[in-house]
C-alpha cells in the first residue's frame, strides 16, 4: 500500500513524498464496502416496506441497528478509518465527536420527552380527574407544575 503510493508520488523534492501516505484504499476494499452497504441498505428498506415485523418499536430498533453497522462499514472501507490514521488523531477526534453527538441527541430527546410529558397534565389532569383515573400521574404533575417558574 504505502510502497505503491511512494512509487507514484515521486516528487522532485524528497519531503513531498511523505505528504502522500494517507491510504487510498484498494479496489477490493471499495467493492467489499459497496456490497456490504447495498445489503445493509436493502434489508432495512425491505423490513419496513414488507412489514416483516409486527411491532413498530422492534422494527425501529432493527433499522437503527443496520444503520449503525453500515456507518461502521463506511468508516472502514470508504473513509479508511484506522487507529493509525494521522497518528491516531483522526480516531480521537471521531470518538470525541461521537460522545458529543450522543449527548446532544439522547439529551435532547430525553429532556424534551419529559418536558412534554410533564407539561401535558394541565390538560390530561382535568380529563383524568373527570374520568376518576390517573391517580398516579396527577400528584406528580401537580408537583412539577408547582416547581415550574
Amino acid at each position: 500500500m504505502s510502497a505503491g503510493s511512494h512509487a507514484h508520488g515521486a516528487a522532485p523534492d524528497g519531503h513531498d513524498v511523505h505528504d502522500n501516505e494517507a491510504p487510498h484504499g484498494s479496489l477490493q476494499g471499495y467493492l467489499i464496502g459497496f456490497v456490504l452497504s447495498v445489503i445493509l441498505t436493502a434489508v432495512p428498506f425491505w423490513i419496513v416496506m414488507a412489514h416483516v415485523f409486527k411491532s413498530p418499536t422492534l422494527t425501529a430498533f432493527v433499522v437503527m441497528g443496520f444503520a449503525a453497522i453500515q456507518i461502521v462499514v463506511h468508516m472502514i472501507f470508504f473513509l479508511h478509518m484506522t487507529p493509525q490514521a494521522e497518528g491516531g488523531w483522526n480516531l480521537l477526534a471521531l470518538i470525541f465527536t461521537l460522545v458529543l453527538v450522543t449527548i446532544a441527541l439522547s439529551g435532547s430527546l430525553w429532556v424534551m420527552y419529559h418536558l412534554n410529558a410533564n407539561m401535558m397534565p394541565t390538560s390530561t389532569m382535568t380529563a383524568g380527574n373527570a374520568m376518576g383515573g390517573m391517580d398516579m400521574a396527577s400528584p406528580a404533575a401537580a408537583q412539577d407544575s408547582r416547581t415550574m417558574p
Binding site: 508520488g9 505528504d19 502522500n20 467493492l31 456507518i71
Partner: protein
C-alpha cells in the same frame, strides 16, 4: 522504511538533510487532519438538526404525518444514487493513485452525475411536498424535516460544485501533489455525506413511516 529512503536522498544532497529528517516527524502538513476536524464539526451541525427533528418530528399541528407524505421507493432510488456515487468516487481515487488522469476525470464526472441525480430527485420530492401543501411553514415536523434534509442536500450540491472545480483543475494542471491533496479532502467530504444520509434515510424516512 521512509526514513531510510530520505537518508539515502540526504546522502546525495547534504543541504536537504535537516529538512528531510524534520519533515519525517510531522504527520504530513496537517491538511487531512484539519479537514477531518472540519467534518467532525459539520457532524455536530447535523447532530443538532437530527436532535431537532427527533424532538419535533411528531408535532404535526394537525398537518400531514410522515406515513402520509413519504414515498419509500423514491427514497430507495435516492439512496442508491448516493451509494453509487460513493463507489465511483472510490474508483476515481484508485485511478488517481495509479496516476491515470483520464480515468480520474471520467470517474469524477460519473460521480458528479450521480450526485446531481440525487439532488434532482430530492428537489423533485420537495417540490411535490410543497405543491401538496406540506411546506416548511405547515408544522414543526415539516420545518425540522426540511431543515435537516435540505442541509444535507445543500452539502451535496456544494460537493458537486467542488467536483467540477477539481475536474477543471486536474484537467489543466494534471494530478500534481496539490490536486491529489484536494481530491483526498473531497473524498472524505463525499463519503462523509453518504454516512449522514444513512442516518437520514434510517431515522427520518424508514422509522418515520412506522409512526
Amino acid at each position: 522504511m521512509s526514513s531510510s529512503s530520505s537518508l539515502a536522498a540526504a546522502d546525495e544532497h547534504a543541504r536537504a538533510f535537516h529538512l528531510a529528517v524534520e519533515e519525517d516527524h510531522h504527520p504530513e502538513n496537517g491538511t487531512m487532519l484539519g479537514f477531518w476536524i472540519y467534518l467532525m464539526s459539520d457532524c455536530l451541525i447535523f447532530a443538532a438538526l437530527f436532535a431537532t427533528y427527533g424532538v419535533l418530528g411528531t408535532s404535526y399541528a394537525g398537518g400531514p404525518s410522515q406515513a402520509e407524505l413519504f414515498k419509500l421507493p423514491t427514497v430507495a432510488l435516492n439512496t442508491s444514487m448516493l451509494l453509487l456515487s460513493s463507489i465511483t468516487y472510490g474508483f476515481a481515487m484508485l485511478a488517481m493513485a495509479k496516476g491515470n488522469k483520464g480515468a480520474t476525470l471520467i470517474w469524477l464526472g460519473i460521480t458528479a452525475f450521480f450526485g446531481a441525480a440525487f439532488v434532482g430527485l430530492e428537489l423533485q420530492e420537495f417540490a411535490e411536498l410543497i405543491h401538496d401543501g406540506a411546506s416548511p411553514q405547515r408544522s414543526a415536523f415539516l420545518s425540522s424535516f426540511f431543515a435537516l434534509v435540505g442541509t444535507h442536500g445543500l452539502h451535496v450540491s456544494v460537493g458537486i460544485v467542488w467536483i467540477i472545480t477539481l475536474m477543471v483543475q486536474v484537467g489543466q494542471k494534471g494530478l500534481v501533489q496539490a490536486n491529489q491533496r484536494r481530491l483526498m479532502c473531497l473524498s472524505l467530504f463525499w463519503h462523509f455525506l453518504d454516512v449522514i444520509w444513512i442516518g437520514v434515510f434510517s431515522f427520518v424516512y424508514l422509522i418515520g413511516v412506522l409512526r
